[in-house]
């Protein structure tokens, strides 16, 4: 086993990419529009969003690519992280809402007089950060504990995660659930006292996201390279053999499943202030499956793959929805089919195959 996490050229490549990404908001702030080195605010916001997606795809790949558990419910963890942070952002609006009340507009609309209990203390930023980690984490732990304990696996697990997503979406669409119904949270004004629309706040959020993505990548790399990671891959390849050897897969699966949910929740929390809205459609089953295709396109069972996949699929989506909005669903559908039929290991797998062919020649 190698002692360093990445090989020297890999480290160099990752850091070079990170540096390049980090320069985007700097160039956006430093150069006036029209300057050849200027990066548009739209571009910065887009890349910031993609990095959140990449983090979610990374989290998903940790359970799917390495442990063989296909989740169709990571959209819920993403959205719950977003909602947990959104609660703080809603409180931070203060009296600047349309109704100039202490309560968020949607509560005024419902004629509520006080905050419901689960909103208590959410005016504290750090408490909301705790919720971002705890809510998806606890949900995943409880759900995973019961599912893994009764040895639900394969497609059954996928289907019940989809049912969970569906149930959560219905729940959050209700106005009386207390999270703004189908409008969700929006019209945020400030975060930690800084105006949320100002370019410097946006740049700071972008850089935090980049840092978190890098941290998540290193953490995942450390896990999959450790002995724990090898057990996880054994779960993926032959769970019953692992059990006959004497391991109990429950706690390994539960650990990686919960960690993945937490990472996904953090990605959601970073996503909401940058995009400025969170609503229950983020929990629709379709969104969760789209996350899976990011990981599949990039290459599952690798860590850089999901990041590459999230950037390329979403880049394609932005381009398509701008250029041929009617064709995007055809393209996405074809992507699902072609990737599963012809590129089971994704872009990275294809690249590896080409390299091996070259070496053999």
């Amino acid at each position: 086993m190698k002692t360093t996490l990445f090989s020297r050229p890999a480290w160099a490549g990752i850091l070079a990419c990170a540096l390049l990404l980090a320069l985007l908001p700097v160039f956006n702030l430093a150069f006036e529009p029209g300057h050849p080195l200027h990066v548009s605010s739209y571009m910065v916001a887009l890349i910031g969003k993609f990095m959140c997606y990449a983090m979610a795809a990374l989290a998903l790949d940790l359970v799917w690519g390495y442990t063989g558990i296909l989740s169709l419910g990571h959209g819920v963890f993403f959205a719950l992280g977003g909602y947990a942070h959104g609660m703080y952002l809603m409180r931070a609006i203060g009296r600047d809402g349309v109704y100039q009340s202490n309560l968020p507009d949607f509560m005024v609309f419902l004629d509520w007089k006080t905050y419901p209990w689960f909103w208590s203390m959410t005016d504290s930023f750090w408490y909301s950060m705790l919720l971002v980690v705890a809510v998806p984490g606890v949900l995943a732990f409880v759900f995973g504990y019961f599912a893994f304990r009764s040895r639900i696996k394969g497609v059954y697990f996928s289907i019940i995660t989809q049912a969970m997503t569906f149930a959560f979406m219905l729940l959050f669409f209700r106005n009386n659930t207390g999270f703004g119904g189908n409008n969700g949270f929006t019209d945020f004004k400030r975060i930690l006292g800084h105006a949320i629309t100002s370019p410097s706040t946006k740049a700071a959020l972008y850089l935090v996201t980049l840092g978190m993505l890098l941290g998540a990548l290193i953490l995942c790399r450390w896990i999959v390279r450790s002995k724990l990671g090898r057990v996880l891959q054994a779960v993926r390849d032959s769970e019953s053999r692992l059990m006959f050897i004497g391991y109990n897969p429950l706690w390994f699966k539960l650990f990686v499943w919960t960690l993945s949910a937490v990472l996904c929740g953090i990605a959601g929390a970073l996503y909401v202030p940058q995009v400025g809205i969170i609503n229950p459609s983020e929990m629709s089953p379709g969104n969760s499956i789209e996350m899976v295709i990011w990981a599949a396109v990039g290459g599952r069972g690798t860590l850089l793959g999901p990041i590459i996949g999230a950037f390329s699929v979403n880049g394609l989506k932005s381009w398509f929805t701008g250029a041929f909005p009617d064709l995007w669903l055809y393209a996405l559908g074809l992507l699902f089919i072609l990737v599963t039929l012809f590129m089971p290991q994704g872009i990275l797998g294809l690249a590896g195959k080409l390299r091996r062919q070259k070496e053999a020649a």
Partner: protein, 561 residues
């Protein structure tokens, strides 16, 4: 002479008024003028039975209660003049002179209902303002007048409308209508309405008789009325002062509540079975493709949608080329929808799914991609909006049971249709050669292959069968709800839940799971609302699968995986 004829047949005139009443506002003026002209002839021809001035006077006054009472009393006359005064009041053409006379003004002519004489409108008259409360009373009273219509359906509709609520002022009118009513269906309705109206009578014996007469009613709107009679006011006295009436009210209320509770249970049972049949039709195809073949087909919902759109296409075809046989379109839609969905299914199986056998997670992703493409295709062919699929005449309407519960024909037909489809599927699987092959291939693919069964062909046919049944499900769904490109999405989670709950590969399990979920859903809804009921069911299934991963009807076996 038209006036004299009309005079001999009061019903004729009333139906003319009704025709006017029913006409859209645009034609109102013309009809109204025609009617006024006719009335003038009438006055010229007959010594007119005018309305007592004392009855009319309160209309011009300020006391709101007196005005409403006057409206009721005028309506109780149940003659043409009464109708004319009331409709003038409704149309803001009723005026009051400073000395308190009431005039119906039409153009520059004013007709005095108290004398029956017409004269040019005097100066200084003032329009009688109608507030919402009075307008409601006028409309109610005019509806009451429809009870005297010659047209039976008109009377029936009026009697039905009265079931929603009456007041004491209408009682004389209803009693009068009851006396001359001979129709067996309308009569009990009127009796009920008369009793309801009599509840507000000042005479306690009349009230008591009314309460007792109502003990056979199953009208839910009576419940608050009876409850209110038993309530105590702020000063500690009952709303209903007479004790004997109260005692009778308690008895009637109990009977009524028992009957309503029973009706509700029967209603829930019916709607539960109906929902179950829908779930069954949605899930039955999946029970074959997923349950028997093990293919996770996320495009199953879209196969339902294709069936629904095939129904829509059949309806379009019949509307255009065979409008005379429009009601038969649904029967033609069944084979069309089956073939359309089966064909799409077979194409999918041959081009995509068969390369992914043994890799369920990849199948899931690829079929999800297919579902996106199918949805977008339908969207570009038929538009993103919902399309309208009408019930054929023989499926619209319903039968009324237990007084107030309407069981609609489309739901009843679909319940039996779902059972018929299950029977056919069972026969195919158990009694045909194809079924034998299907069972052989699912039980031991390699052995079946060795004995010469063409497994690839059987896979194709089985998948086509499952898809075609989804198409039949789509025909049924088109008769109950909206047909749009997203139709399938709302059923895919439910369908998988039914199949997983019922036990994979178990037809009987699917049937029981579908009807069970339908019933549970409908009985939870009154307590929790539709959304929470749905969430509760999903949570229940998730917990259930934890306990019994093999579903309700697991095959007993000893294998590890």
């Amino acid at each position: 002479m038209p006036g004299r004829t009309a005079g001999r047949r009061p019903g004729f005139f009333l139906s003319a008024c009704i025709a006017m009443h029913a006409a859209p506002d645009k034609n109102m003026n013309l009809l109204y003028k025609l009617m006024a002209a006719l009335l003038l002839c009438l006055q010229a021809a007959l010594a007119h039975a005018a309305i007592d001035a004392a009855l009319l006077a309160p209309l011009a006054g300020d006391d709101p209660d007196a005005r409403i009472e006057a409206v009721g009393q005028i309506a109780a006359l149940a003659n043409d003049d009464a109708y004319k005064v009331l409709s003038a009041l409704k149309n803001d053409t009723l005026y009051a002179t400073p000395e308190g006379r009431v005039l119906v003004v039409d153009g520059d002519q004013a007709w005095d209902p108290a004398t029956g004489a017409s004269a040019p409108a005097p100066d200084g008259i003032d329009g009688i303002t109608v507030n919402n409360r009075l307008r409601g009373a006028v409309e109610g009273a005019m509806a009451g007048l429809r009870l005297f219509s010659k047209d039976r359906n008109e009377r029936l509709a009026a009697a039905r409308a009265l079931q929603k609520g009456t007041d004491a002022a209408q009682a004389p009118l209803i009693v009068k209508a009851l006396a001359q009513e001979t129709d067996a269906e309308i009569k009990p309705l009127l009796e009920m309405a008369a009793a309801t109206a009599n509840l507000q009578s000042p005479d306690p014996t009349v009230r008591r008789a009314a309460v007792i007469a109502l003990s056979d009613s199953s009208n839910a709107s009576l419940r608050p009325v009876l409850r209110q009679m038993l309530e105590k006011g702020t000063d500690g006295s009952y709303t209903e002062p007479d004790e004997s009436v109260r005692i009778a009210a308690v008895g009637t209320l109990q009977k009524l509540e028992r009957r309503l509770a029973f009706t509700e249970i029967v209603g829930n049972l019916f709607y539960g079975v109906s929902l179950g049949s829908v779930l069954l039709l949605a899930a039955l195809g999946l029970a074959i493709t997923f349950g028997l073949m093990g293919i996770i087909n996320m495009a199953h919902g879209e196969l339902l949608m294709i069936g629904a759109y095939a129904t829509y296409a059949c309806q379009l075809f019949f509307r255009k080329y065979l409008p005379g046989a429009l009601d038969a379109y649904l029967l033609v839609a069944l084979p069309v929808a089956f073939l359309a969905s089966a064909l799409v299914g077979i194409v999918l199986e041959r081009t995509v799914i068969r390369w992914l056998y043994g890799r369920p997670l990849e199948t899931l992703l690829a079929t999800w991609g297919i579902s996106l493409i199918l949805m977008q295709t339908v969207r570009s062919l038929f538009g993103a909006q919902n399309v309208e699929v009408a019930n054929p005449a023989w499926m619209s309407g319903g039968i009324t049971v237990l007084g107030s519960l309407v069981l609609s024909w489309n739901r009843i037909v679909i319940i039996f249709f779902s059972l018929a489809v299950v029977a056919v599927v069972w026969l195919i699987l158990n009694k045909t050669r194809l079924g034998l092959f299907v069972r052989a291939v699912t039980q031991n693919r390699r052995m079946a292959d060795c004995t010469g069964v063409s497994t690839g062909r059987v896979d194709m046919m089985t998948f086509g069968l499952g898809s075609g049944i989804a198409g039949l499900g789509g025909v049924a769904l088109s008769q109950l709800g909206n047909v749009g490109p997203d139709l399938g999405q709302s059923y895919i989670v439910d369908s998988f839940m039914v199949v997983v709950l019922g036990g994979v590969g178990q037809l009987a399990g699917t049937v029981i799971a579908a009807f069970g979920l339908g019933e549970i859903n409908k009985f939870l809804e009154p307590f929790s609302g539709a959304v929470l009921a749905k969430i509760a069911i999903l949570v229940f299934i998730i917990i259930f699968i934890q306990k019994r991963p093999q579903g309700l009807f697991a095959l007993k076996g000893r294998s590890v995986e």
